[in-house]
């Protein structure tokens, strides 16, 4: 959980090295033409997107604090008699604790290996008879794993900064991250990954990916994107609700204009607010979408969704059917309630 520091640093360094990339995130159509990948990080970080994603995760505290199956030893529960106020205080404290559990892993571009060369001293060639590379690490307390100075002197005399891959390994030597393995865990290999997808163990693999990789690691991005695609296919969004992974999932779907299944599922479960939020997210990310003409003003849920269905969606039939079903059931419910009350 690297938090905002990495993200800010990443943005700064990216800005320094790839000016074009940072600018191309919303209105510029040059992004499409230039062939450079659009950077999702700044959009992801923006307050509007963050608030939408937080609301979309639909936090249910009970599910956040569920017993994880891979717990080792169980203990007996402890009981307390509490008044209303005490329960309220305890619950607020739990909400604060849940903030850490619900911290979303940032969506970044894959890092590029381009280590800076600091010096070239060909005179040092042949210094070491074994031809080994020397790595010098700054292990001062307080330096972050991302920032600390790690340089290597290669056998041909070049002094350069280490690659990202090497940086991960060196940090693991001096400051091991608990749960991180040296070699790629078998779970991420295609054979076992597919099996996990079949078993619908999404939270399991996403948690492991968060532990094993940094968010800008190409393997992390690959794994998470594959998982999100599988979830989208199987429409099992409920598995990620109330976890930290729902935000990035929704963001990924909106980024790739694939929110149809999500909207459909929300309509079927009568989560109209969530359906609206998903469409709003799409509008923020893709300012050039057709359905942006109708704005959500707090009351026109069905109108807003219908507009999206008729313009931008690729599953018009299914969505309109779902809208109809929802409206009918809402009507029936109203009638029953009025009969009951009278």
């Amino acid at each position: 959980m690297i938090g905002m520091r990495l993200l800010r640093h990443a943005l700064r360094t990216e800005a320094r090295n790839h000016l074009k990339v940072v600018r191309h995130f919303s209105k510029d159509s040059d992004a499409m033409n230039s062939g450079v990948e659009r950077d999702p990080s700044q959009t992801f970080i923006s307050p509007e997107v963050q608030s939408l994603l937080k609301e979309l995760t639909a936090v249910n505290l009970g599910k956040v604090f569920e017993i994880k199956r891979y717990q080792e030893k169980l203990g007996t529960p402890k009981y307390k008699f509490m008044t209303d106020e005490e329960v309220e205080i305890a619950r607020n404290k739990a909400v604060q604790q849940s903030a850490e559990k619900l911290q979303m892993p940032p969506v970044l571009l894959a890092r590029k290996e381009n280590p800076e060369v600091l010096a070239r001293d060909p005179i040092l060639k042949g210094y070491d008879p074994d031809n080994s590379t020397y790595v010098f690490t700054d292990i001062t307390f307080g330096k972050s794993d991302h920032d600390r100075l790690i340089v290597k002197r290669e056998p041909d005399g070049t002094l350069s900064k280490v690659t990202w891959e090497e940086r991960d390994n060196i940090n693991q030597v001096y400051f091991p991250f608990p749960g991180r393995k040296w070699t790629l865990p078998k779970m991420f290999e295609p054979e076992y990954f597919d099996d996990l997808m079949k078993r619908e163990e999404y939270v399991f693999i996403l948690d492991r990916a968060c532990v094993q990789f940094e968010p800008n690691h190409p393997k992390y991005i690959e794994i998470t994107q594959k998982t999100y695609e599988t979830i989208n296919e199987k429409k099992s969004f409920d598995k990620l609700r109330s976890t930290r992974h729902f935000g990035p999932l929704a963001f990924h779907l909106a980024w790739n204009k694939q929110i149809d299944n999500l909207v459909l599922e929300c309509l079927q479960k009568e989560r109209i607010d969530d359906a609206v939020r998903a469409i709003q997210l799409l509008h923020i990310i893709h300012q050039d979408s057709k359905s942006i003409n109708v704005q959500f003003d707090g009351n026109n849920h069905m109108e807003f969704i219908k507009n999206y269905t008729n313009t931008d969606s690729l599953k018009q039939g299914a969505l309109s059917l779902a809208i109809e079903t929802f409206e009918q059931t809402a009507l029936q419910r109203q009638e029953l309630l009025s009969v009951h009350n009278s």
Binding site: T76, K78, D84
Partner: protein
């Protein structure tokens, strides 16, 4: 036993006859000589008929195996100590005997092809007698029941701890899913004015369906089987329902007492098992409790333990009942859930802080144990940690303290245990330290 004696008796007159045959005049001499008269058994009483030949086998056996009235009162002559009559005709066929003679028409065919078979004596079978004796010796041993380990009770082939099936159905009630287990099976005596000491079998059985319904009963009868049946059926009549926490353990810790028997029971998590007295274990099995710790203190009278445990279970309170009684929310905290406050029961109207008296017991464990506090005995360090060699041992084993984890990791990642030398020399495979290691025999 009678057979060798007969043989001995028969031998003596034979020696006298043999002596007489050797020298006809010797017989008179023999009798007149005082030395010989002293050594020979003087005209032994050789009877060729006795009760042995006159009485039928049944009466003979009755004389050997019967038990007196006094003995019967003491319970002799029944069960394992009973002497059984042996059928000596077993293993013997009419026509086959000690002198192996072939009897055509009886033990052999009359015609063999076209020739008549003659009655002839075949060579004696020396092993016949020993075979018969061996068979007769084995006849008396009691054939022990073959019990599968899963069917065994608390000890050996004894009944306590063993299952005796569900209670007998009454009309439409078929007691489906019920299983009865015996807790106590013993012979008890009582004195009657006219009969004196009378023996009966007493059986304490507990029955349950593994889902919270259970009942126990005591029944006595003259014979064991009917006592078991009575106890089983009576237990089926006296069923009680107990609510379980998550279907695996008791609702909360409790203390219960019956007579001088005290039980301290604690709720335990899944996978803990039943760590308690075997009787309590059996009762939990039939109720459906799979995890429990129970400490029995004071008297360990089995019937009292059973009664105390049932009393404790009956006095248990539901979460909702506790919340109503206290007028406060009952909140569950679990370490595995990050100590999230889960409200399991709420009263109809919750009291406020002002309404709670200052000296009221709000602590859940105190409330549940009725004010009692379980004594937690001090655990002292093991004796060997104080010995001088302990420090040496710790220093010696420090270098390989993570070897088990490393071994596991290597097997997962590489499939074998290797070191930096194994890269260069594949045969250099490190092995975990063993005090005595068997050297593999060199294959030739």
């Amino acid at each position: 036993m009678a057979l060798p004696l007969l043989r001995l008796l028969s031998n003596v007159p034979n020696t006298i006859n043999a002596l007489k045959a050797l020298s006809p005049g010797a017989g008179a001499l023999l009798f007149k000589s005082p030395a010989i008269r002293a050594t020979l058994i003087f005209e032994p009483q050789c009877r060729h008929t006795s009760f042995f030949n006159k009485l039928p086998a049944q009466d003979l056996w009755k004389g050997v195996t019967s038990v007196s009235n006094a003995g019967r009162k003491r319970g002799r002559g029944k069960g394992t100590g009973k002497k059984t009559a042996k059928n000596l005709n077993r293993g013997q066929i009419i026509g086959v005997g000690k002198s192996n003679i072939m009897w055509p028409g009886l033990s052999a065919p009359i015609l063999k092809g076209k020739d008549l078979v003659k009655q002839q004596q075949l060579p004696e079978d020396s092993e016949r007698m020993s075979k018969l004796i061996k068979m007769r010796d084995e006849m008396s041993t009691f054939r022990y029941l073959k019990l599968l380990p899963i069917e065994r009770g608390w000890s050996g082939t004894k009944l306590p701890g063993r299952s005796i099936g569900p209670p007998d159905p009454i009309g439409d009630d078929t007691f489906e899913g019920f299983d009865t287990k015996v807790l106590e099976f013993k012979s008890v005596f009582h004195m009657k004015g006219n009969f004196g000491r009378r023996r009966r079998m007493s059986c304490l059985a507990v029955t349950g369906n593994g889902k919270g319904l259970a009942g126990f009963a005591l029944a006595k009868s003259v014979d064991g089987r009917s006592a078991l049946k009575r106890a089983k059926n009576r237990a089926g009549q006296k069923l009680m329902y107990f609510e379980l926490y998550n279907n695996h353990t008791v609702m909360h810790d409790f203390f219960a007492q019956f007579g001088r028997t005290k039980i301290f029971a604690s709720q335990k998590p899944e996978g803990f098992g039943l760590v308690c007295h075997r009787a309590i274990k059996t009762i939990c099995e039939v109720i459906g409790i799979t995890d429990l710790y129970a400490k029995v203190e004071g008297s360990t009278n089995l019937q009292n333990i059973v009664k105390a445990f049932f009393i404790g279970l009956l006095k248990q309170k539901n979460h909702q009942q506790m919340a109503e009684e206290k007028g406060l929310h009952l909140v569950e905290f679990r370490r595995e859930c990050g100590n999230y406050p889960k409200v399991v029961a709420s009263p109809a109207k919750c009291r406020s802080k002002e309404e709670i008296k200052p000296n009221e017991v709000l602590d859940f464990s105190q409330y549940v144990m009725d004010g009692r506090v379980v004594l937690k005995k001090k655990t002292f360090p093991k004796f060997y940690t104080k010995l001088p060699g302990w420090e040496r041992h710790l220093k010696k084993t420090l270098w390989c303290r993570n070897h088990d984890d490393v071994k596991m990791r290597m097997l997962v990642e590489h499939g074998e245990i290797r070191s930096f030398l194994t890269d260069k020399y594949p045969e250099a495979k490190p092995k975990t330290w063993k005090k005595i290691r068997e050297e593999p025999q060199p294959e030739e």
